[in-house]
C-alpha cells in the first residue's frame, strides 16, 4: 500500500474488501453497548425517580415498583420554580457572556499570534493561568471589588419582573447582570484565548501582512479577515463556553443577591427548604434545566469534538 501526498493530504490506495462481520468487531460492539448501558443507568434511574410522586417514594423507597407514574413533578416544578422565566434569565447571562468572551479572546489571540512583540507570551500566559485557578481562591476579594466598584446607572430594561439594569441599579457591580456576565467573560477568556491562539497560529502571518500592505487597519483585518477563517474554532468554542457558563453554579450564587436574577442552576437550589426538600421535584427540575446544554451538544457535536482540542496538535 502506497501513500501519495497531494496538496498536503495523504491518499491511500485502498483495495476494496468485501464487508464481513469480524468477531473482533462484534466483541467491540458488545463491550461498547454494555458500557453505554452502564453509563446511562444512573441517569435513567433518576428519570424514573422524577416520574414518581414523593409521597410514594417516602413510603416505599426508591427501589420499588411504581404505583403511579406521571409527569406531575415536571408540571409542578415548571410553575413552582418558574422555569420559563429562569431559562430566559440564564440566556440573558450566557449568550452575552459567550459573545463577549469570543470577541475579547479572539482579539487577544489575534494580536498575540499575528504580531510579534515583547510581552506576547507573558500576556498569553497570564490569560491561560487565570482560567486554571480554582474560583475559591479569588472569591472573597472579588466580593469586595463587586461591592466597591462604582458603576454608572443609565436606567434599565424592565419587562415584568425581569429588570436588566444599564448598567447597575445600586451603583455597584454586586447583584447586577453586568457583574455576573463580566466575571464569566473574564474567567473564560483565558481558556478561550489559549484555544483560539493555538488555532490562529496556523494562519500564516502573510495574510495579515498583505492585508496591512493593502491599507486595512488591524481592527478591520481582525473582523473581516481572521475571524471568518476561524469560524469552525469559534463555533466549537461557542458550544463549549455555553456549556460551562450555563452549568455554572458558583458565581451566580455568590455575586447575585436577588433570587430573580440568578441563573437556573442557582434557582434550582432555592427549591431546597430549610429542612425539607422534595427530591423528586428537584430532580425533575434539574433534568428540565439540563435540556438546553444537551440540545446544544447533540446538535453541534462535531464542532464540540473539534473544539476541546484546538490548541493541541495541528499539523
Amino acid at each position: 500500500m502506497s501513500t501519495i501526498s497531494v496538496a498536503g493530504r495523504s491518499l491511500k490506495a485502498r483495495p476494496l474488501l468485501p464487508r464481513r462481520i469480524r468477531p473482533a468487531r462484534l466483541a467491540l460492539h458488545a463491550f461498547l453497548i454494555a458500557a453505554v448501558l452502564l453509563w446511562l443507568f444512573p441517569l435513567l434511574w433518576a428519570v424514573y425517580a422524577s416520574l414518581r410522586p414523593v409521597s410514594e417514594t417516602i413510603f416505599n423507597g426508591y427501589v420499588s415498583w411504581p404505583k403511579t407514574l406521571n409527569f406531575d413533578n415536571y408540571t409542578t416544578v415548571w410553575t413552582q420554580a418558574d422555569l420559563p422565566y429562569f431559562y430566559l434569565n440564564t440566556l440573558v447571562i450566557v449568550v452575552p457572556a459567550v459573545i463577549l468572551t469570543l470577541l475579547l479572546a479572539s482579539m487577544v489571540a489575534f494580536c498575540c499570534t499575528q504580531f510579534s512583540w515583547k510581552f506576547n507570551l507573558v500576556v498569553l500566559m497570564l490569560f491561560t493561568a487565570g482560567n486554571l485557578l480554582p474560583p475559591q481562591v479569588i472569591i472573597v476579594p472579588l466580593y469586595w471589588i463587586y461591592l466597591h466598584t462604582p458603576i454608572a446607572s443609565f436606567g434599565s430594561i424592565d419587562v415584568g419582573r425581569f429588570s436588566f439594569a444599564l448598567f447597575s441599579d445600586n451603583g455597584l457591580l454586586y447583584n447586577q447582570y453586568l457583574g455576573i456576565i463580566l466575571i464569566h467573560v473574564v474567567f473564560q477568556t483565558g481558556f478561550a484565548t489559549f484555544v483560539l491562539s493555538n488555532y490562529m497560529k496556523t494562519i500564516t502571518k502573510e495574510i495579515t501582512e498583505s492585508a496591512l500592505v493593502d491599507g486595512a487597519n488591524v481592527l478591520r483585518i481582525w473582523w473581516s479577515v481572521i475571524l471568518p477563517l476561524c469560524r469552525p474554532a469559534l463555533a466549537a468554542m461557542a458550544t463549549l463556553l455555553f456549556t460551562f457558563i450555563y452549568n455554572d453554579f458558583f458565581w451566580g450564587l455568590l455575586l447575585l443577591k436577588t433570587g430573580d436574577r440568578r441563573p437556573i442552576t442557582s434557582a434550582l437550589n432555592d427549591l431546597q427548604g430549610q429542612f425539607f426538600t422534595n427530591n423528586n421535584l428537584l430532580a425533575a427540575g434539574a433534568l428540565l434545566a439540563a435540556i438546553p446544554p444537551i440540545i446544544i451538544f447533540i446538535a453541534l457535536q462535531k464542532h464540540f469534538v473539534a473544539g476541546l482540542t484546538l490548541g493541541s496538535t495541528k499539523g
Partner: protein
C-alpha cells in the same frame, strides 16, 4: 508550525528595540513596519482592555487573597493593622487544623485515582472509538452526556445509587434484606472512593473526547507504515501514536491534575465535605463563604491550593512556550 526564518531572526532582533508588529519577510528582506500609529493604538487597546479586566478581576483578587492570608479578618468592616497576624494562619493550618492533612491526602488520592484509573479509561474509550464504527456518534454522545448535566442532578443521581437503605446498590445486591448495609457515603474509609467512582462518570467522558479529537489529528500514514511493518494495534498505539500525541498527552495530564486539585462539586453536595470527604477547595468554601466567614484563614488555605495548582500550570505553560519558540 513556527517559521524557521522567524525563529532564527529572534536572537538578532533581541538586540534591537522591539517594535510592535515588526514583520520579517521569509526571505530576510530589510525589516519594515506595516503598522501605523493608530494601528498600534488599536492593538494596545485590543490586548490592553482584556488584560486590564483579567488583572483587575482575576489576578488582583489573587494577590489580595495572598495578602489576606496573613490576617485574621472576618469579613466585616475594614481590614485594620490589628488584623495582621503574620504566619499564624499557616501554622494553625499545618499543625492545629484537624481537617487540613486529611483534605490534602484526599486530594492526592483523588489525583492518583484520576491519573491511574479514570483518565486511562477515557483514553482507552477514545482509542476504541477511533475507527470506522457504526453508531460511533451515539456512543460518543452517551459517554459525554454526564459532562453536560448540571451539578444538582448529578448529586441526586448518585444519592439514588448510594443511599444506605434506599439506594439502588444496597438494594440490588440484597444488602438491605440481609442487614449488611454498606454505608457508601457515611463510612470514611470508602466514601471517598464512592465519590471518585461517581466523579469518574463525568471525567472519563471529558477525557475521552479530548483524546479522540487528538487521535483524529494523527497522520494516518504513520499508522499505515506501522501496519506495513507488521505491528499489532497495541504496539502501534504505544510506539507510534502515543509519542506523536505528546502535546495532547500534556493537556490530558494537566487537565487531570487541575480537576483533581479543584475537586469540589460532588463531595460538597453530598455532605459538605466532611467525614472522609474533606477536600482543600471545600475547606476554603466552608471557611470563607459561610456564616462564619473566617476569611483570613480561608485565604491561607486558598494560597496553599494556589501554590499546588501553580506546579501543573507552570509545567504546562513552559511546555507550550517551548513548543511556540
Amino acid at each position: 508550525m513556527a517559521n524557521p526564518a522567524t525563529s532564527a531572526a529572534a536572537p538578532a532582533r533581541a538586540s534591537k528595540a522591539p517594535e510592535a508588529g515588526e514583520l520579517v519577510a521569509t526571505r530576510r528582506r530589510r525589516r519594515y513596519s506595516l503598522l501605523t500609529r493608530p494601528d498600534k493604538i488599536l492593538i494596545a487597546l485590543m490586548v490592553g482592555i482584556p488584560l486590564a479586566l483579567d488583572i483587575l478581576f482575576i489576578w488582583g483578587p489573587t494577590v489580595a487573597s495572598v495578602l489576606l492570608s496573613f490576617t485574621d479578618w472576618a469579613g466585616i468592616g475594614d481590614v485594620t493593622p490589628q488584623n495582621v497576624v503574620g504566619l499564624k494562619n499557616y501554622t494553625t493550618l499545618f499543625t492545629g487544623y484537624a481537617f487540613f492533612w486529611p483534605a490534602f491526602q484526599h486530594n492526592l488520592i483523588w489525583l492518583a485515582f484520576l491519573s491511574f484509573i479514570a483518565t486511562p479509561l477515557g483514553m482507552f474509550l477514545a482509542v476504541l472509538l477511533d475507527r470506522e464504527l457504526r453508531g460511533k456518534r451515539i456512543y460518543q454522545s452517551i459517554f459525554f452526556l454526564p459532562v453536560v448535566l448540571p451539578l444538582v442532578v448529578v448529586g441526586f443521581i448518585w444519592t439514588l445509587q448510594y443511599a444506605p437503605s434506599d439506594g439502588f446498590i444496597n438494594n440490588a445486591f440484597g444488602l438491605v434484606k440481609s442487614g449488611n448495609i454498606i454505608d457508601w457515603f457515611g463510612n470514611p474509609s470508602i466514601n471517598l472512593y464512592a465519590v471518585l467512582f461517581a466523579t469518574s462518570w463525568r471525567h472519563i467522558g471529558y477525557i475521552m473526547v479530548l483524546y479522540l479529537a487528538g487521535l483524529k489529528s494523527v497522520d494516518p500514514s504513520l499508522r499505515e507504515a506501522a501496519k506495513v511493518d507488521g505491528a499489532t494495534e497495541v504496539q502501534t498505539f504505544f510506539n507510534v501514536v502515543l509519542p506523536v500525541m505528546a502535546p495532547i498527552n500534556v493537556i490530558i495530564v494537566v487537565v487531570t491534575a487541575i480537576e483533581a486539585l479543584r475537586a469540589f462539586d460532588l463531595a460538597f453536595i453530598i455532605n459538605r465535605g466532611t467525614n472522609g470527604l474533606e477536600l482543600l477547595s471545600i475547606l476554603i468554601t466552608n471557611n470563607s463563604i459561610s456564616e462564619a466567614s473566617l476569611i483570613g484563614f480561608g485565604s491561607a488555605i486558598a494560597v496553599v491550593l494556589l501554590v499546588i495548582s501553580l506546579v501543573p500550570i507552570v509545567l504546562f505553560l513552559s511546555r507550550t512556550m517551548r513548543s511556540q519558540a
